[in-house]
């Protein structure tokens, strides 16, 4: 016997619930980190750096006091002690060859140059670092996207978006049939919005050589479907153009990043090493994470840790000249920590003598190696197979205090964060 709700409220509710009968596409990963990153960019534009610079002057003036009195007047010994030595050379954990993150950076940098000449006249494509691609929580893969500009306006270009159903788009009646092109075949489908404005266009290039992967592109925008930057004919010309081979090679995940890209990364790491020479304790060095772009790792005597640092404009938990600590995930409040020599992963925070919290407060986070999974902290999200080095134990309070209490550390932090985000 069929029983359906008489109450229109329940009927409409049940109707809308039917939209979710099917399996939903996987969630876009890293949303929190994207918002946090956008928030940090906004804070810099709004002048927090100016306030930080003023506090930095005071910190430099007060730094001599800290150096001259390593106990900080508390009777505790905050000196680093003798170099603990290394279980393995620091260079053992560096990445001489191309990494996954190098490949992502290369796609971000090179795609506009390779794709623009293949596009219709008047259409350009550019990478926007504020739209840094989402990171999949399932695989750690970065899904880059770009901005397309035409006379009709801007549209978004996504590369092989994992959250879109290409086959479903091609199957919408009448189904899209493949068209032969140089070296393979293409399918292209534009579906307009059911309301005023908007379109989506799905593209596929499938090589005849089955050892090479297909290329999937998704373009969407708010203009009319007829104004889509690429129609089927334009995509056919793109796939037939001599420059398409270079684009396909760039997008092929099996093709490692070029030596030029690796060299650029090494040069950037050398600049970071120069900036941090007076800040990091002996035996420690920063490198760019091989698992995710714009992410740092701290190389130490016994392994690597994901690493972040920044100013903390709103932090008022810690008293000036007191090192505080909390575990990364537990969410407990900061507590002062003694120089017990025990390495920890988590968050250390410090406001140097003479600086004023919160503008002059600085903090750092040392965490585990890059990983994936629904419960992975977004700051650790990245391709887990990209970092072969062992995980380090974190930093002792003395090591953290030496970093966060270094004269001029706030400026060093800003400079390094700018370098890795560019």
């Amino acid at each position: 016997m069929t029983h359906t709700p008489d109450n229109p409220d329940l009927a409409v509710r049940a109707l809308i619930d039917r939209l979710f009968d099917d399996v939903e596409p996987p969630h876009r990963g890293g949303m929190a980190d994207v918002s946090i990153s956008h928030g940090a960019t906004t804070a810099r534009r709004h002048g927090y750096t100016v306030a930080g610079a003023a506090a930095c002057v005071l910190a430099i003036a007060a730094g001599a006091v800290v150096v001259a009195n390593p106990s900080g007047g508390t009777g505790e010994d905050w000196t680093l002690g003798p170099n603990p030595g290394t279980s393995a050379p620091v260079s053992a954990y560096e990445d001489p060859g191309p990494t996954y993150a190098d490949k992502v950076r290369e796609i971000d940098a090179e795609l506009p140059r390779l794709l623009t000449p293949l596009l219709p006249p008047g259409t350009t494509v550019r990478y926007d670092s504020t739209r840094r691609g989402a990171v999949s929580q399932l695989t750690g893969d970065v899904l880059p996207d770009f901005l397309l500009h035409t006379s009709a306006g801007d549209a978004v270009l996504q590369i092989d978006s994992a959250t879109t159903d290409y086959e479903g788009a091609f199957a919408v009646s009448p189904a899209t049939t493949p068209l032969p092109v140089e070296g393979g075949s293409i399918r292209a489908r534009t579906l307009p919005s059911a309301t005023a404005g908007g379109f989506s266009t799905w593209f596929e290039y499938k090589p005849t050589d089955t050892s090479k992967p297909p290329i999937h592109l998704l373009i969407y925008g708010s203009s009319k479907a007829a104004d889509s930057p690429l129609d089927t004919e334009a995509f056919r010309r793109l796939a037939d153009a001599p420059g398409f081979t270079a684009l396909a090679t760039l997008l092929n995940p099996a093709t490692p990043a070029s030596t030029a890209t690796v060299r650029q990364r090494h040069q950037l790491e050398d600049r970071i090493a120069t900036e941090t020479a007076g800040v990091l304790p002996p035996g420690f060095r920063l490198k760019l994470s091989p698992a995710a772009p714009a992410t740092l790792e701290l190389i130490g005597p016994n392994g690597v840790n994901t690493f972040q640092w920044d100013g903390s404009p709103n932090s008022t938990d810690c008293r000036t000249a007191t090192l505080c600590y909390r575990p990364e995930i537990d969410g407990v409040t900061f507590r002062s920590v003694d120089p017990d020599g025990k390495p920890r992963m988590g968050v250390y925070e410090y406001t140097p003598t003479g600086a004023k919290a919160p503008a002059g407060t600085v903090y750092l986070t040392v965490a585990g190696k890059p990983g994936v999974g629904a419960y992975t902290n977004p700051s650790n999200l990245g391709r887990p197979d990209s970092e072969p080095a062992p995980q380090g134990p974190g930093l002792t309070p003395q090591q953290a205090r030496a970093i966060l209490g270094s004269p001029g550390v706030a400026q060093v932090i800003r400079q390094v964060n700018t370098l890795i985000s560019s």
Partner: protein, 174 residues
Amino acid sequence: MKPEHVDEFRAFVMGSQGHLRRSAYVLCGDWHLAEDIVQTAYDRVFRSWHRIRAVDLPDAYARKVVYRCFLDSRKWQRESATLDALDALADRPSAPEGDAAVRLTILAALAELAPRTRAVVALRYWEDQSVEQTAALLGMSPGTVKSMTSRGLTQLRERLGDLSTLLPDTTDTR
């Protein structure tokens, strides 16, 4: 922002992303645009997190921001079904075939509502918000909410016919 507040925000995103994404999908009918809307909402929520976490219920605020973002944003609107396909389905509102066709029918019917009417219908019937709550969330008077609710229901019935034909069969054990 305090690091623990940042962690709170991350935990909040983890717990709310599913429902907010579905809410945005009800509004716009497209998963990509839904996630863009939710991401925009999270950006705004994060900027005010130090205030939101202390005063408002974060879930309620995030829901409000999602709906406001949907109503504000025209730039990235797109939907994944053709007008022709939707019109073909609309010719047979009382006899859709297959679950996918039913969902397309429902999406098309919702898409034909004006955005504010769509938002009112989603809040009143899917989010179980009262007239007053809906009015406060969308910044309109309770009277406007009532009239939009009525109009939305009328349009849905005109578009879909007898709503019960689109609901799943349930077995009455009595």
